[in-house]
């Protein structure tokens, strides 16, 4: 599902960096906050998931992947505007959840796919090694009581 993003490798790095607009940042911010909300344990925003996704978008996504990602965010925004008359970031938590649920059941296959990609990236940012920019202070790992045990000793 997320293969177009997850399989990015070194040679595919797009050198021309491009940033998400502030408006789209606000959509991303609101969406991942609901996909992995704070409550029992930290949420996506506490874990630095936003920075993780921002870095991917700017430095690892292909031009095509960036465009699809932006379209996905825009579609979430238009759902919020249609059903609640305001931007996603200004909706209440309950309204934001409604928008995400609607997106998941939308007739638009691309939108449904986008939501799965966003869930995947949120989980990755929450649970991956902090060297990738998410899982800040290992809060994701602490949430599941995971203490990595690294190999010791070397052959050379």
């Amino acid at each position: 599902m997320s293969s177009c993003f997850a399989q990015l490798k070194q040679e595919d790095v797009i050198h021309k960096s491009e940033t998400l607009s502030d408006l789209r940042r606000s959509i991303l911010h609101a969406a991942i906050d609901r996909l992995m909300p704070p409550g029992i344990g930290p949420g996506a925003l506490d874990a630095g998931v936003e920075g993780y996704i921002k870095e991917l978008f700017e430095n690892r996504f292909s031009v095509k992947a960036r465009k699809r990602f932006e379209e996905g965010l825009d579609k979430l925004q238009s759902l919020a505007r249609t059903h609640h008359g305001k931007n996603l970031s200004n909706c209440s938590s309950a309204e934001q959840d409604q928008v995400l649920s609607q997106a998941q059941q939308d007739s638009d296959l691309e939108l449904r796919r986008f939501l799965k990609i966003l869930i995947t990236l949120t989980i990755e940012g929450f649970f991956s090694d902090p060297v990738h920019g998410g899982n800040r202070d290992q809060v994701g790992w602490q949430f599941i009581d995971y203490k990595p045990r690294r190999p010791q000793g070397n052959s050379r």
Binding site: L8, L35, I40, G41, Q104, I123, F143, P148, N154, S155
Partner: protein
């Protein structure tokens, strides 16, 4: 400079050949498409290694085209890729080094004609000395005689079994109540220092990752670096071979490769060994068209690419609550349960016309925070929707009240006429070379075997007191354990290679990866690929001393 032997591909088969030949003073050149990683390059980084497929290529640049439906819906796929680097798939393998059962070498004799099954051109007894050699050259930890279904062995394992999680007592007791005979899973991991590599440090993940200490061996660390140390073996990395070249007399001359800068080079050798994995070796032969071989090298009978097999794969698991289960050892974080069961290698009567079962391998589930959470998201939503939000977090946290014990079943892929590969007519890789198109249609019996075997595994977990069980894969196929494509046999009319993996049609051309295997057997193929390559190397040595290759 002309080399004695050119080896294309540095995985299990190629590295075993390189070591055996260079130790006898044969001048060997090994060409490898991928880069060389050292143990210290490897990190236990789930995102980089598992989610982003560190070892396998990007299918946008190097696809295999997979067809699993009729009418065909071609998809770019990772099927048939194991690893593009020095050492090949052994760099990130689990290292489950089982021997095949003696009957795996005589499937047709034992079970009669069915689909495209065939006997191997040699017996277990003929391969046995090379099984022992492979175990000792690489370093395998196991317990000789513990597996009641193993064929006779001439030597014990070089290393004792790895240390085990205390839960193994509960496991063994449950097996005993079920009249099963578990044995320590033989692993290519040092249970004590071996050949200059350290003992396993029992960290938290293993299979799928590169080993940062070198305690789990790879074809590179256990074989190829020793070949290089002889002074007779040269390795060139990041070179893509696009064609095996021919002399006018029909003997192999060498190859043409494209180097990292994009330049073409030609090398010559007296003997050419192709060992790029079953899928890519067949592709290279098919790409090597000439007047003498218009359909690809050694392919005048049209069998290169046929009899392709993707190993049968089934799996399940059980979950044990930390507080509720009487076994307080559950919290111990030791990584290995290390048990296998071969009692179901043959199915009871009445289950199928080809009553071949499989081998069950049990282990503690390795921590995989990302994949674990993704699985919950994917499997716990409604319909095809994924779970998210507070409900996802609750589920994830709930899961971590349990220790998971999982098992995978390795079972046969029955070779059949519908599963094969050919060159794709349109799609090319980033070198501009046609890629393979894989047709994958497993025999219906694979589901029968998988269903029955998974239930047997679950019975053991329930006997151990699991709070819940899951059925994961039922009679599926493995994308990275694959064999066939250049079948070995005695009759040139229905095989590509002879019993020494020498092409019937080109006597100085050998294929020494999993391509030769007429049938898949149950266990993963790596140890058998190693043993067969060592056997082939001995044949090449005898023949080159007799100057049979000119």
């Amino acid at each position: 400079m002309k080399y004695d032997v050119l080896i294309i591909g540095s995985g299990a088969g190629g590295s075993a050949m390189a070591l055996r030949l260079s130790q006898s003073g044969v001048r060997v050149l090994v060409l490898e498409k991928g880069p060389r990683y050292r143990p210290q390059d490897y990190r236990h980084d789930e995102l980089e290694v598992v989610q982003r497929n560190f070892f396998r290529p990007n299918v946008a640049r190097e696809p295999h085209i997979l067809i699993e439906e009729d009418p065909p819906r071609p998809q770019r796929s990772l099927y048939g890729w194991s690893a593009n680097c020095v050492g090949g798939g052994t760099e990130h393998m689990g290292g489950y080094y089982y021997r095949f059962h003696p009957d795996d070498f005589r499937m047709q004799s034992r079970f009669g004609k069915y689909a495209e099954i065939a006997d191997w051109p040699y017996s277990y007894a003929e391969l046995e000395p090379y099984y022992s050699m492979a175990e000792w050259e690489t370093g395998v930890a196991g317990l000789a005689g513990a597996n009641p279904l193993e064929g006779p062995r001439s030597k014990a394992y070089p290393l004792p079994p790895l240390e085990e999680h205390p839960l193994v007592k509960t496991f063994d007791a449950a097996c005993q109540r079920c009249s099963l005979r578990p044995f320590p899973t033989p692993r290519a991991i040092n249970s004590r220092p071996h050949r200059g590599r350290p003992v396993c440090s029992y960290c938290d993940v293993c299979a799928e990752y590169g080993c940062p200490t070198g305690a789990r061996n790879s074809a590179q660390t256990s074989l190829l670096t020793r070949a290089e140390a002889t002074g007779c073996c040269e390795v060139r990395t990041r070179v893509m071979v696009r064609q095996v070249t021919l002399h006018k007399n029909g003997l192999a001359k060498g190859c043409i490769y494209i180097d990292a800068e994009g330049y073409e080079n030609e090398v010559e050798a007296s003997v050419v060994c192709v060992s790029c994995s079953a899928v890519e070796s067949a592709r290279l032969l098919l790409l090597s068209k000439s007047t003498l071989f218009p359909h690809g090298l050694a392919n005048n009978n049209g069998l290169v690419g046929k009899h392709l097999q993707f190993h049968g794969a089934s799996s399940g698991g059980g979950f044990f609550h930390f507080e509720r289960h009487p076994d307080k050892d559950l919290r111990n974080t030791h990584p290995f349960l290390g048990r296998s069961i071969m009692d179901h290698y043959f199915l009871p009567e009445g289950l199928g016309v080809l009553p071949k079962g499989g081998l069950l391998r049990f282990d503690l589930m390795a921590p995989s925070p990302i994949a674990g959470a993704l699985n919950i998201a994917k499997s716990r939503g409604e319909g095809d929707q994924w779970l998210w939000g507070a409900a996802l977090k609750e589920r994830i946290q709930h899961r971590h009240n349990y220790r998971g014990v999982g098992f995978e079943v390795f079972h046969d892929f029955i070779p059949n006429g519908d599963t094969f590969l050919e060159l794709d007519a349109e799609i090319k890789d980033h070198w501009g070379l046609p890629v393979v198109r894989i047709y994958l249609f497993p025999d219906a019996l694979q589901k029968v075997a998988g269903t029955w075997l998974v239930e047997r595994g679950l019975e053991i977990l329930q006997e151990m007191g699991a709070d819940s069980i899951t059925r994961d894969l039922i009679g599926e196929t493995s994308s990275h354990l694959f064999q066939g494509t250049c079948r070995a046999g005695k009759d040139p009319a229905n095989s590509v290679l002879n019993e020494y993996c020498q092409a019937h049609e080109v006597r100085n051309l050998f294929v020494v990866d999993g391509s030769f295997m007429p049938t898949s057997a149950g266990p993963p193929p790596t140890l058998t690929i190693l043993a067969n390559a060592l056997r082939t190397a001995d044949h090449v040595l005898t023949r080159s001393q007799a100057q049979a290759f000119g």
